[in-house]
Amino acid sequence: MTFQIKQYHPDDHDSIYDICLKTGNSGKGAEHMHDDPMILGHIYAGPYINLEPESAFILHNEGHPCGYIIGAVDTQSFFNKVKSNWLMSSVDSALNSGATIWTKDVYQKFVKPDASPEHLLVVGRWITTAMLGIAIFFAQFATRFESIYDLSQTILSLFQGPSLAIIVLGMLWKRATGKTALISLISGVIFAGTLMWVNSNASVPLFQVSEPFLYVAWWSFVLSVVIVVVVSLMTPPEPESKLKGLVYRYE
């Protein structure tokens, strides 16, 4: 065996990712743990070999890569580079996938089914810009929360109550209708948002706990149930053929 340490070269990129995967389970192979074989390398090795290649070295055994060592000369500057370059590429991917969903699954499906690819590309760009604007706008509110957990729970609580009401009644009650579900969902989310807003803006908070997301979810659930029941009874029922097999014990 002849070992040799060499400076990292872009040709070693795939070898490093491969070694990262083969040692990614506390030194053992992690191939069985990840659907995407690149993911570990992308998270743990990619930032170093791409942003600080001068401090990355690879160990060769008789010409074959068998190990690597990576690091950062200045942690603070490296962190800034990761934040501005590496993480931005992830944000960019998230924006692209979000824009694709809205363009293909919403705009093309409901607004302009005969849209040309060029037109969809332009729409996708506008949606990306809009999503970025919305994200920037909501970032100011994110800083008001103590942790990302609080923020995610609060946002989820806007949708949890109405969604649960629709799912439960849709599964168990054959009289619930599709249009009612939509009305209930929109009303429930607006109501939950109003409760949140009132709670944080009133002189004395509406709820007597610091994180009232469960109360908000509960009351929006109650309202959504009432709306589904009342509006369903006021609208024509769905045809039997549409319900059979979907509603519990309705064969």
Binding site: T194, W197, V198, A202, S203, L206
Partner: protein, 91 residues
């Protein structure tokens, strides 16, 4: 800007006051329930679910896969619910 904030607070207070009285009454009712009764209701709810799952017909608790394998869901559901009951009895 201050006027906007004041108006927002006034609107929020108005809406909050609409709910506050009703909320206080309901809080009073809830607080009147002893903790042991509340815990009992919670556990009875899971026991009812267990009873319901035991009584479900076999065809509603089996899942036939395309490979021909059949998965029996009842034991998993019973295990999960029993675990919940045990946890809430201990806590």
């Amino acid at each position: 800007m201050n006027n906007v904030l004041l108006a927002a607070t006034a609107i929020a207070d108005t809406i909050a006051n609409m709910f506050r009285g009703m909320g206080d009454v309901m809080r009073g009712w809830m607080l009147a329930i002893p903790m042991s009764v509340a815990k009992g209701i919670f556990i009875v709810y899971f026991l009812l679910l267990i009873y319901w799952i035991i009584k479900l017909p076999e065809n509603e608790v089996t899942l036939a896969l395309e490979s021909g394998k059949t998965i029996h869901l009842r034991p998993y559901a019973l295990f999960s619910l029993t675990t919940l009951v045990v946890i809430y009895l201990i806590l």
